[in-house]
Amino acid sequence: MARLFDLHYPSMLRLATLLGADDPENIVAEAYYEIYRKYRKLRTPDAAAAYLRSVVCNLTRMRIRHLQVARRHVEDRIDTVASAETSALLRDDQRALIRALRALPARQREALVLRHWLCLKEKEIAATMGISVGSVKTHTARGLAALTHAMEVRR
């Protein structure tokens, strides 16, 4: 379990951050707790990585949805992406792109991050997100089109 943690924890933490989680550490810890409980049922370390990815995606989506609901009821806006958008290392165009990425629907954002950051194949993305390969293609294409449009408007 320690080896699994050392192997995948940094990348899972980054994945949760890129997906827009406001508390990536908690989400990844929760994902590892799920795997800790089901550790004996795992077949291979690769299965563990895929399972972790899937749990991180689901938990992040649930967390963002929860925050969106909370925002409707609370007047104080919860800033979930401040750390990402105020990053000093990002250029202006990159910052605008990340802002546009955050504004995408969760499924499109997940498909794009899994595709362009983790460089997963469509089949792997489909397995991670629990949808069909066709849906992955649709989400990726729509997400990319929306980002392209956002960047064009900015110019």
Binding site: L18, E25, Y33, L90, Q94, A145
Partner: protein, 93 residues
């Protein structure tokens, strides 16, 4: 994949956006560093939650078992004590 047209048909600009997106994601990811004692903290938390889960499960089992025993005893306590009409043995000579 990169050549697939978008929902509104913008295929020409996609590679540019894809390249920019990759760069931005990599830059952002490069800024995330895990805490050095993350495993120790996480492991402690897993063990605490697992102990709690098992304790709750054991308590539930004990509660259900106790309830079943008490109900059984109550039913037996309310059963008539007089000999029934079915079992009637004549006194032996």
């Amino acid at each position: 994949m990169s050549n697939s047209p978008g929902a509104d048909g913008r295929a020409a600009d996609s590679p540019d956006t894809e390249h920019l997106l990759r760069e931005a994601l990599e830059t952002l990811a490069g800024e995330v560093h895990p805490a050095p004692d993350a495993y120790r903290a996480a492991h402690g938390e897993w063990q605490r939650r697992e102990r709690r889960r098992r304790l709750i499960l054991a308590s539930l089992i004990v509660a259900v078992f106790t309830l079943a025993v008490v109900l059984g005893l109550l039913v037996l306590n309310h059963a008539p004590t007089a000999p029934g009409p079915v079992v009637h043995q004549p006194p032996s000579p």
